[in-house]
C-alpha cells in the first residue's frame, strides 16, 4: 500500500510539474480545444494544420498566455498572493470581465500542517484573496464560486516541504471548459 501511495504521489507530482494545472476538473486537453472558438457543427470539428506558429486551441489553454496557469501557490499559513501571480490573476480577471457568461470556481487548499477545520477556513481565505483581486479588476461576484477544501484534497501526498508547497494552493477551475 505504501508503494501504491508512493507511486500515486509520484504520478501526481509529475503531473503538477509538467504543468497540468488542476485535478479538480478544470484540467483540459488541447485536442478538442477548437470547440467554441473554431466552431463545431453537428459534432464535426475543424482543425487547422500546417500553421505551426499560431496556437489554435482555446484561449484558456494557450501555453504562452498567463491564462494557462490555473494554480496559484501560497506561503505557509498565508493567504497573500505572491507578486509573481499578479499577472496570472489579472489575465483571468480580464478574461472573465470580457466573458461575463463564463463562471469560475476557486478551490482553496492548504498543506496538512495545522488542524483540519482551521485549514478549511485558511483555504477559504486564500480563495477569497484571489476573489478580491478578480473583483477589483471588474469580475462580478456572480461569476465566481469558492470551495474551501482545507487539507482534504492534497495534490501531493508526501509529508515534507516539497509536497506541502504543492498543496498550499488555489485552483482556478472553469467548470464549463
Amino acid at each position: 500500500m505504501k508503494k501504491l501511495i508512493n507511486i500515486v504521489s509520484l504520478m501526481l507530482l509529475s503531473a503538477v510539474m509538467v504543468g497540468c494545472s488542476s485535478f479538480g476538473g478544470g484540467d483540459s486537453s488541447t485536442s478538442n480545444g477548437t470547440t467554441g472558438t473554431n466552431g463545431m457543427v453537428n459534432g464535426a470539428t475543424t482543425t487547422g494544420i500546417d500553421g505551426g506558429t499560431a496556437f489554435s486551441g482555446h484561449a484558456l489553454d494557450d501555453p504562452s498566455s498567463p491564462l494557462s496557469t490555473k494554480v496559484i501557490y501560497f506561503e505557509f499559513d498565508s493567504s497573500a498572493i505572491a507578486p509573481e501571480y499578479e499577472a496570472v490573476v489579472a489575465a483571468h480577471a480580464a478574461y472573465l470581465a470580457a466573458n461575463s457568461t463564463v463562471s469560475i470556481v476557486l478551490e482553496g487548499h492548504t498543506d496538512e500542517r495545522g488542524t483540519r477545520e482551521y485549514n478549511v477556513a485558511l483555504s477559504e481565505n486564500r480563495a477569497k484573496s484571489v476573489l478580491d483581486l478578480l473583483s477589483l479588476q471588474g469580475v462580478t461576484g456572480s461569476q465566481v464560486d469558492i470551495t474551501a477544501y482545507g487539507e482534504e484534497k492534497p495534490a501531493a501526498l508526501g509529508h515534507d516541504e516539497q509536497s506541502w508547497q504543492l498543496n498550499r494552493r488555489v485552483e482556478l477551475v472553469y467548470p464549463a471548459h
Partner: protein, 432 residues
C-alpha cells in the same frame, strides 16, 4: 472534455447502516511499571452451551491491559484454572504476584438462555470484590465481555470503565483510478468490528457524536461544497442541515443535544454559530475578522471553547454560550488549536506546536500548566474517552496516518493500525 468534467463532478456516494470493513489492530507501545497485576482465568464453557467462538477472558484481559492500569498474567502462566470460588487457592495466586483474580463461566439456563457469570477476587484478602451473572445470547458475548471489563475496572479504580463504548473515524485511500475514496467508520473501542457508515469520492470530515450516542454528524463535500449531515447509526438514515454559502463545518453537539455549535462563513469569514434544533434558528456566537472555528462544548453546556486567529496565530478562546466577550485560554506556545474539554471540565486537550512539531498538549485549567502528551510531528484531532482516562488522536506512522491513544497522564501509549488506508479524526462515543 465535457464528459470528463461530468465524471469529475459525479459523486460516488453510498450511505450504509452496517457494512463490514478491515479490522484495526492495537499495539501497546508504552506501559507503566505501576500497573496492577491481575489474572483472568479462561472462562469455562458448559457442556450444553455448544460451540463458543468468543474468548471472553481474552477480551477482558485485553481491555484491562490496554487501559495501562493493569498488567494481566500471561495465559501460559495460568496453570490452575479454578471454576468456582471454593476451588481458588489464594496462596498460589499470591505466589504468582497477583493482586486480583477473575474467574467465570458461560452456561445455558434451563429456559435455553445463555448467561455469563464472573467473580472478581482480592487475592490478599481472599475475598470476592464483585460478581455478576449476565444473561445474553451467543451474538453478544463480546459485548458482555466488555461490560465485565467495565465492572472490574470500576471496582478496582473507582472510575467508570469505557470498554463498552465505540469510536468513529475517517479513512481515506487512493483507489486504482488514482482517486481518493473517503469513509467514516464506527468500531468498538478496542478497534473490533469496524463498520462503514458513509463512503464518498469527495472529502468527509469532522465526525461528531450526539451526546446520546445514537447519531453522528459529519461534514461532506459530496455536493461540491461542504454540508453537515446527521446520520442515525441504527438505520443509516441521515438529514442534511440547512447549508449556507461558504463553510459549513466543525459540528459539535451540546450536552443535551438541543443545540449544535458549528462554523459558518456566510456572513464573511469563519465564525461560530449555534443551531437550535427545536426552533431551527442559527445564532451567531462569535464576531471576529479572523478565523473562528472548531467549537467544543464544556461538559456543563455553558461555555464554548474554540480556535481563533484573532491574535495573529491560532489560539484557544472560551466564550459563554450566550455570547459576550471571549477570553483567551492558551498562553503557552505559538500554536494551539482544536481544543476539547475533558469530561470533568478540569482540563483541555489540543493540538499544540512545539518547535516545528504538532503534538497533543493538555492544559490544566486550574494551574494553567500545559503538558505535552505525544511525540509525533503531525499529531492531531485529540478526543477523550468518556471516562477521561485515555485520549485518542491521529498521528503519522511513516507515510500513513494512523490512530494512537495515550492515557490522560501521558504514561500509557498505544497504536491502532488499520490495514491499507489512512485513518484520522477519531471521535470517541459517549457512554451507552
Amino acid at each position: 472534455m465535457q464528459h470528463l468534467i461530468k465524471l469529475a463532478f459525479l459523486i460516488l456516494l453510498s450511505v450504509t447502516c452496517y457494512a463490514q470493513a478491515a479490522p484495526l489492530q492495537i499495539e501497546i507501545t508504552q506501559g507503566v511499571a505501576s500497573a496492577q497485576p491481575i489474572a483472568v482465568v479462561p472462562f469455562s464453557v458448559g457442556a450444553n452451551v455448544g460451540v463458543v467462538n468468543v474468548d471472553v477472558a481474552a477480551i477482558i484481559a485485553g481491555d484491562l491491559s490496554r487501559s495501562g492500569r493493569f498488567k494481566t498474567l500471561a495465559r501460559t502462566d495460568i496453570l490452575n484454572r479454578p471454576l468456582t470460588a471454593d476451588q481458588v487457592n489464594f496462596r498460589s495466586w499470591q505466589a504468582l504476584g497477583q493482586d486480583n483474580l477473575v474467574i467465570g463461566s458461560i452456561s445455558k439456563e434451563p429456559n435455553g438462555q445463555l448467561s455469563v457469570q464472573f467473580q472478581l477476587f482480592d487475592v490478599y484478602k481472599g475475598e470476592q470484590l464483585t460478581g455478576f451473572k449476565i444473561p445474553t445470547d451467543a451474538k453478544n458475548l463480546r459485548g458482555v465481555a466488555h461490560r465485565i471489563s467495565d465492572l472490574i475496572y470500576e471496582k478496582l479504580t473507582g472510575q467508570k470503565g469505557a470498554f463498552s463504548t465505540r469510536i468513529a473515524y475517517v479513512t481515506s485511500r487512493v483507489n486504482i483510478a488514482g482517486k481518493i475514496e473517503y469513509k467514516i467508520q464506527v468500531a468498538d473501542a478496542d478497534g473490533y468490528g469496524p463498520r462503514t457508515i458513509v463512503t464518498s469520492s469527495e472529502p468527509l470530515m469532522s465526525p461528531a457524536w450526539t451526546s446520546k450516542g445514537d447519531k453522528i454528524s459529519y461534514v461532506s463535500y459530496e455536493r461540491g461544497r461542504s454540508s453537515i449531515y446527521t446520520q442515525t447509526l441504527s438505520t443509516g438514515q441521515r438529514t442534511k442541515l440547512r447549508s449556507f454559502k461558504g463553510i459549513n463545518g466543525a459540528p459539535a453537539w451540546s450536552p443535551d443535544d438541543s443545540q449544535m455549535a458549528l462554523t459558518l462563513s456566510k456572513d464573511g469569514n469563519a465564525n461560530i454559530y449555534i443551531y437550535n434544533v427545536i426552533t431551527g434558528a442559527f445564532r451567531r456566537l462569535t464576531n471576529s475578522y479572523a478565523i473562528d472555528t472548531e467549537p467544543s462544548w464544556s461538559p456543563d453546556g455553558r461555555q464554548i471553547l474554540f480556535t481563533s486567529g484573532r491574535g495573529g496565530k491560532p489560539q484557544l478562546y472560551q466564550i459563554s454560550v450566550n455570547g459576550g466577550r471571549a477570553s483567551r485560554v492558551t498562553r503557552e506556545g505559538g500554536y494551539n488549536a482544536r481544543g476539547r474539554y475533558a469530561p470533568d471540565g478540569k482540563s483541555i486537550v489540543m493540538v499544540h506546536r512545539v518547535g516545528k512539531k504538532y503534538q497533543i498538549g493538555s492544559l490544566n485549567l486550574k494551574t494553567g500548566f500545559t503538558s505535552v502528551l505525544t511525540k509525533g510531528n503531525l499529531d492531531e484531532s485529540p478526543t477523550f474517552a468518556p471516562n477521561g482516562s485515555m485520549i485518542l488522536y491521529s498521528t503519522k506512522d511513516g507515510l500513513k496516518s494512523i490512530l494512537a491513544a495515550v492515557s490522560s497522564d501521558g504514561k500509557v501509549k498505544q497504536k491502532f493500525r488499520l490495514q491499507g488506508g489512512e485513518v484520522r479524526e477519531p471521535a470517541w462515543s459517549p457512554f451507552k
